[in-house]
């Protein structure tokens, strides 16, 4: 899907890559998968004081089909994991994932029967943000790290099933 499918392999100019990556990183549309306390801190990051819209993340549409960055904020329980997986599958490529907070990264203080010990056991995570909950400045730092990852991205055929 997208740019990679109609550029034949081998004919990748670095300037096209640069432009595409710059466009992608400056308009990351997040999909906030907020469940618990970290969701409140994510909402605080999106609010007026630590404005996330200045990083291009203006559109918070809660729709997986229109976003490219999933921010898993909050603890994921047994019942919620299939929902998280479905939402992740519904997002089109290219997509990145930030695991915000201790609970999403490793289970946090909840080492018990009901909690997934880190979402990276089941979906691929690009950036982990420690903290319980992480300060909004840490979340902004994570978004900037994702921007660095996007900048280094090579245009390649995307592996999504639809494409």
């Amino acid at each position: 899907m997208g740019l990679e499918s109609w550029m034949p392999e081998g004919v990748l100019t670095t300037s096209v890559e640069k432009v595409v990556n710059w466009a992608r990183k400056s308009s990351l549309w997040p999909m906030p998968f907020g469940t618990a306390c970290c969701a409140i801190e994510l909402m605080a990051t999106l609010a007026s004081r630590y404005d996330l819209a200045r990083f291009g993340a203006e559109v918070i549409r809660f729709s997986p089909r229109q976003s490219d960055l999933m921010i898993v904020s909050g603890r994921i329980s047994l019942k919620m994991m299939p929902v998280l997986y479905k939402i992740w599958e519904q997002m089109p490529e290219p997509k990145w994932c930030i695991s915000m907070g201790a609970c999403a990264s490793c289970g946090g203080i909840f080492d018990n029967y009901a909690m997934i010990q880190g979402v990276d056991r089941f979906i691929p995570v690009d950036v982990y943000v420690p903290g319980c909950p992480p300060r909004p400045e840490s979340v902004i730092d994570a978004i900037m790290k994702v921007q660095e990852i996007v900048e280094r991205d090579r245009l390649r055929p995307s592996p999504s099933k639809a494409g």
Partner: protein, 169 residues
């Protein structure tokens, strides 16, 4: 009408249902027999002397290996808006036959609390309109809040579908 008086009046009204009473830190409770728990609760709700019109909380405690009469104890915390007092009713439920009458017909706050107790303890409530699991997934087996269930569970949290970035599935 305070704790000891309620106990006396209950004992006078239903002598074979009421088994014991207790008190700690200024709070009183009464222990009733399992078979008559519903009638005691109905009396507490309807009788004009008591008028406990609200079931504040319904829960259970697992007393495994502590020398109590039975393993489980279902606890009803009642509140009266007229007199502004709390009162507790406890019923002992044995492990081999964990069934108790449901209070869903008496107070509208009971159904979900009973579903939660069923989910986490395995105590069944007879006469409940919809006794299904509340907090845990439908396929879950086991009752986590029991004392002999391990804290980290039996491996349910490790078996989900894994997404492979290379292949996209």
């Amino acid at each position: 009408m305070d704790g000891p008086k309620i106990f006396e009046k209950l004992k006078a009204a239903m002598p074979d249902a009421v088994m014991a009473s207790g008190s700690f830190a200024g709070q009183d409770w009464v222990e009733v027999e399992r078979g008559n728990s519903l009638s005691v609760l109905r009396l507490l709700r309807d009788d004009p002397d008591f008028s406990f019109d609200c079931l504040m909380d319904l829960t259970a405690v697992d007393w495994l290996n502590q020398g109590m009469p039975e393993r489980f104890c279902v606890v009803y915390n009642l509140f009266s808006y007229r007199d502004k007092i709390y009162f507790r009713v406890k019923t002992w439920v044995p492990e081999e036959d964990p069934v108790v009458d449901s209070a869903s017909g008496l107070w509208k706050s009971a159904p979900w609390a009973e579903r939660e107790v069923f989910d986490l303890y395995g105590i069944e409530f007879e006469g409940h309109p919809n006794l299904k699991r509340l907090m845990l997934p439908e396929y879950y087996t086991g009752h986590p809040l029991r004392k002999d269930y391990p804290l980290t569970g039996a491996g349910e949290r490790d078996h989900f579908q894994k997404y492979n970035r290379e292949t996209g599935e």
